[in-house]
């Protein structure tokens, strides 16, 4: 061996310890051994601890009666229910708040993300302030704030805050009217479902025909014109009715509103369509502004509110008017009004024909509490609200980054080809931005679902609260309860990554 060491030529066979393969195997065996020893040590300790505390293990407790109350549950729940039912209640409550949070946070987040990119200074600054404030404060603190400082500080039941549409808010949560559809209303729901399907099918057909032949089908264009007039009439009638009956009450308001609405609708099919849109948008903008400003600054005298609203509404009407002048003729437009009319009008017709009724059970203040209606506990309201507000700030950043990721040259190329802004967004910008937005957006959804576990801190009975909290305390089966809880989140996460991998494989841009 010593002679070999001094020789210039290396030994053909590497020494046992320097062979990378063998080294790797040794490393791995050592790590696995250490890990197994560690686990064995933990298992031994745990067994000894459990034995000392006279505790048993196993999942048999799932089929035992739970015997505790759950304050809020979508599934039937009583003290006599089993632990596995508690597990399900926890999961459904988690999913419920996560679902509502995801829907609301997506809407809010997209709005704010787009607002942040606005060229309008005030709008973009407001969005920035929102994002930078919200995402730099712990979610738990925000939940505590909404729950303890806002909702718990609401008036007591007797002095409930009454909002419009029979909505009440007090210490015990949010009371909403509960819809109580009758038998016939099922038909309305069925037609609504069918109408949506029909509208989608029609849209697909219309767009396909548009691509194949260069124009929308003639029937659709005609129906679209009629629908345009119908929808214009309906909107104009409602807006004018509110204006003439509520804001400036005059006698015979319905009659006058109907006549004016007919005039506007008739104008909208002539070449004065832009004028009709301008007038209509003035009425609507005035209504909204007058109500909003009146509500926001209640100390202002009425005429000031009216004057300001009228002035701003006039500007809005001017914007809409000049926009409408540039609208392409109805033959070249997607018949949106027709689809809206089908989705709303057909079910409304069935509602009227079948004599169905949709009553609302209004929450009524009794001696000590509200009876009836849909009562949302404050824990739920605070958690859903807090998750929405918090996650929206992250979604907004995701959306902003996604839109900014689309190269400016893409817009320029689309512009130089003569694509109009709507087509530019629909065909070029949005498809590319969505590819960038969707993956982080999904992980925000997953984060929201995981963060819903903070509901445990304000007493919302979601999975961690019900199972890793109450059930664990009652049964003492710590390992089983925590393992099951974690398993649920692990499954959520795995499902999400499976979906994401599929999505990424589908949309990833093909490169060389």
């Amino acid at each position: 061996m010593t002679t070999l060491d001094t020789g210039p030529a290396a030994a053909p066979r590497v020494s046992f310890f320097n062979d990378p393969v063998i080294r790797g195997i040794i490393y791995q065996v050592v790590v696995a051994g250490l890990l197994i020893a560690f686990i064995a040590w933990i298992v031994g300790n745990t067994a000894a601890n459990l034995a000392a505390q006279n505790k048993t293990t196993g999942f048999d407790f799932l089929w035992k009666t739970a015997g505790f109350d759950i304050s809020f549950s979508l599934l039937p729940w009583s003290r006599a229910s089993f632990y596995w039912e508690a597990f399900l209640v926890g999961i459904t409550n988690t999913l419920l708040v996560a679902f509502i949070g995801i829907v609301l946070a997506t809407m809010l987040g997209f709005t704010i993300g787009i607002a942040r990119l606005s060229s309008n200074f005030i709008v973009s600054r407001l969005a920035t302030v929102y994002i930078e404030t919200i995402r730099n404060i712990p979610l738990l603190l925000q939940l505590f704030f909404w729950y303890f400082a806002v909702l718990k500080a609401m008036p007591a039941v007797r002095e409930s805050l009454a909002l419009p549409f029979d909505i009440f808010i007090n210490q015990r949560g949010l009371m909403l009217p509960r819809p109580t559809p009758d038998q016939e209303f099922t038909w309305v729901m069925v037609t609504f479902g069918l109408a949506v399907i029909v509208a989608i099918a029609l849209s697909v057909w219309a767009l396909r025909t548009r691509t194949l032949t260069g124009r929308y089908p003639r029937q659709i264009v005609l129906a679209g014109k009629a629908a345009d007039a119908c929808i214009t009439f309906l909107i104009a009638f409602v807006a004018l009715l509110v204006l003439l009956a509520v804001i400036f009450p005059i006698s015979n308001a319905p009659m006058l509103a109907a006549i004016l609405a007919v005039v506007i609708a008739a104008l909208s099919v002539t070449r004065f369509a832009a004028l009709a849109r301008g007038v209509l948008s003035f009425v609507i903008a005035f209504l909204i502004l007058d109500t909003a400003i009146g509500g926001m600054f209640s100390s202002l005298p009425g005429f000031v509110t009216t004057a300001v609203s009228a002035a701003v509404a006039l500007v809005i009407a001017r914007v809409v008017y000049s926009g409408a002048l540039e609208r392409p003729p109805s033959e070249a437009r997607f018949p949106l009004a027709l689809m809206a009319l089908i989705v709303i009008g057909v079910p409304a017709l069935v509602y009227w024909l079948t004599d169905a009724t949709l009553a609302f059970e209004v929450p009524v203040l009794e001696r000590f509490n509200f009876r009836g209606g849909l009562q949302l506990p404050p824990e739920f309201v605070a958690l859903a609200f807090g998750l929405t507000v918090y996650t929206a700030s992250f979604i907004a950043e995701t959306v902003r980054a996604g839109i900014q990721a689309v190269n400016k040259g893409q817009t320029e190329a689309a512009q130089s080809l003569g694509l109009k802004e709507g087509d530019r967004l629909r065909l070029v910008i949005v498809p590319q931005a969505m590819r960038v937005i969707v993956p982080p957006l999904t992980s925000q959804y997953l984060n929201l679902t995981k963060n819903s576990s903070l509901g445990a801190a304000i007493g919302y009975p979601e999975l961690v609260n019900v199972f890793a909290g109450t059930a664990l305390n009652q049964t003492g089966r710590a390992i089983e309860c925590i393992a099951l809880t974690m398993l649920v989140y692990l499954i959520f996460s795995l499902l999400t990554s499976v979906i994401m991998n599929w999505y990424n494989a589908r949309v990833s841009l093909v490169e060389r």
């Binding site: 320029e412 512009q415 130089s416 080809l417 590319q432 060389r512």
Partner: protein
């Protein structure tokens, strides 16, 4: 100084269809000024382009040549003066801008193909949604132009799968599918490897041979000599000198032009 190449195409250029109209004005720019906030980028631009003209704009980087052609289809706004394209004056009116953009094709330095669409979809997008041409017809036209730029076999691929030269040829074909009356080229070969420059120039020359009105911002002086009927030299945001290529290169008048040419032609 940006790199300048002298790439030429080794074949005689067929000039039989290259006729400059003496009556029909394609583009007219009158006393135009543009500022980027306080920076005066374009100063007193006066330019009259007749139909069928092939104009090359040269000049050091930052001289405003790209900005000038971007003003012509209103990717940039000008603050003073007039720009009239095909008889339509460019103002803030969106309808007019759309009208002009439909008739003016533009080719960018970085191609700007839509990466999420196939080559064919890139080509048919605007004809279908802007011109309302039936899909089958639009695809036929698209294939015709793809053949013209010699890459019909790539129709179903995505832009990311193509080389730079191929992408630029697709971008030219995409503009041609709108059957524009004027083509603007914004440094179409600057982002390409030398061996790809030629294939793009080849396409541009064949366009010129068909009598297309073209304005090219480019450093390809060989192309200017072969194809252009007029070379414009810009510096500091203004047109310094313009002339026929022969005279421009052999007998520059202005000091700045001489300096520029001495730097790029050795």
């Amino acid at each position: 100084m940006s790199q300048v190449s002298e790439t030429t195409v080794d074949r005689p250029v067929d000039t039989s269809h290259m006729q400059v109209s003496s009556t029909n004005v394609a583009i007219e720019v009158i006393g135009m000024h543009k500022w980027y906030s306080d920076f005066h980028v374009l100063r007193d631009i006066n330019l009259k382009v007749m139909e069928g003209e092939r104009i090359v704009i040269a000049g050091p980087s930052g001289s405003g040549k790209s900005t000038l052609i971007r003003c012509i289809n209103r990717l940039e706004e000008h603050q003073e003066g007039q720009i009239i394209v095909n008889g339509t004056e460019l103002t803030a009116d969106l309808k007019r801008i759309d009208e002009v953009r439909r008739e003016v094709g533009m080719v960018f330095q970085h191609f700007n193909l839509f990466p999420h669409l196939t080559i064919l979809q890139n080509l048919t997008l605007a004809p279908i949604w802007v011109r309302g041409i039936p899909k089958a017809e639009a695809e036929e036209t698209a294939m015709h132009y793809l053949e013209r730029v010699k890459i019909p076999e790539q129709a179903l691929k995505f832009p990311g799968q193509l080389s730079g030269g191929q992408q630029q040829r697709v971008a030219i074909a995409r503009s041609l599918c709108m059957q524009p009356r004027i083509m603007l080229f914004d440094e179409p070969t600057s982002a390409l490897d030398p061996e790809m420059v030629k294939e793009v120039l080849e396409v541009m020359i064949s366009l010129a041979e068909d009598g297309m009105t073209m304005i090219c911002v480019t450093h390809e002086m060989g192309f200017a000599r072969q194809v252009a009927n007029r070379v414009i030299f810009m510096d500091q945001g203004q047109i310094i000198e313009q002339n026929e290529p022969e005279a421009f290169f052999s007998n520059p008048q202005h000091e700045r032009t001489k300096l520029f040419l001495s730097q790029i032609l050795h």
